[in-house]
């Protein structure tokens, strides 16, 4: 889980349009969420360890690549969101791209992010 603030605002839109599109998410001072991130990996079960990936290694990679970067931050200030609105759609894709290729020996299959208990987002790469 990571806790972060964001403000949904697009420079391509006027102040009035931003207000209409994003509603209270456009509040100039931002607001925050406890994002719940699920990382799904796939791969063969190793014959010696019985594991697809050591969960400690998986935890450590997610901690290093994602939580260290985003937890208790303002997402709008991250370089990844300078020109991209930090909607959870875009955060989901960003987290996937940060983790992709870094979870060996497993392969990243899907990133799912719950923004609130009532909505969540899933991304499985461009091919899916």
């Amino acid at each position: 889980m990571l806790s972060a603030s964001h403000r949904l605002h697009s420079d391509a839109l006027s102040a009035g349009q931003n207000s209409v599109v994003y509603g209270k998410c456009n509040n100039p001072h931002g607001h925050g969420h406890n994002y719940v991130i699920q990382v799904l990996v796939g791969g063969p079960v190793d014959s010696e360890t019985g594991m697809v990936i050591n969960m400690l290694d998986l935890d450590q990679s997610v901690q290093k690549e994602v939580l260290a970067r985003f937890d208790h931050t303002n997402l709008n200030l991250d370089p990844l969101f300078v020109n991209r609105v930090p909607t959870t759609e875009n955060l989901c894709r960003a987290v996937y791209e940060l983790l992709d290729g870094k979870l060996t020996p497993a392969n990243l299959v899907q990133v799912r992010i719950e923004e609130t208990e009532n909505n969540f987002f899933e991304y499985s790469g461009e091919s899916r």
């Binding site: 949904l8 697009s10 391509a12 839109l13 599109v21 994003y22 509603g23 991209r84 609105v85 930090p86 909607t87 759609e89 875009n90 989901c92 894709r93 208990e117 009532n118 909505n119 969540f120 987002f121 899933e122 991304y123 499985s124 461009e126 899916r128």
Partner: protein
């Protein structure tokens, strides 16, 4: 492609009864669910849509809009209703409001609304009857 899911809840009553069967057979197949005085559930509905985030807004679909669409097209008809008696798709045809059929009926209520709005297409409707049981419909694949 991002898959986005919005969750909503509604409470409704129903019973399971096939009019083509005898009372004994209904009781044998449906058990306690066949009691004609009905019973109720707190249903959880999950609606999944898929699309690319809009380059300007970053949204696949505006969640406020999706929430309103679910409320207007599904919850307004189902919430605090008796599904067998008050919801047209079940009342008119005597279709049994199993969780499977509620998933299909919810899909039909949302498919055109979501797909004609532009930007996203409906990919799944999941209905939890209890926390332990759910049915999911993804259209006719």
């Amino acid at each position: 492609m991002i898959f986005l899911t919005r969750r909503a809840t509604f409470s409704a009553s129903h019973y399971y009864w096939n009019e083509a069967w005898t009372a004994e057979k209904n009781e044998q197949i449906f058990g306690r669910c066949s009691r004609r005085s009905g019973h109720g559930h707190n249903y959880t509905l999950e609606v999944t849509v898929a699309g690319e985030p809009d380059p300007v807004t970053g949204f696949v679909v505006d969640l406020k809009w999706l929430k309103a669409a679910i409320e207007d097209h599904v919850l307004a008809a189902y919430d605090h209703r008796h599904l067998n008696l008050e919801v047209p798709e079940f009342a008119a045809s005597k279709m049994i409001p199993t969780t499977e059929n509620i998933a299909i009926a919810s899909w039909k209520r949302l498919e055109t609304v979501v797909n004609s709005a532009g930007g996203a297409r409906l990919t799944a409707v999941r209905i939890y009857e209890t926390p332990e049981i759910f049915a999911e419909y993804r259209g006719e694949l």
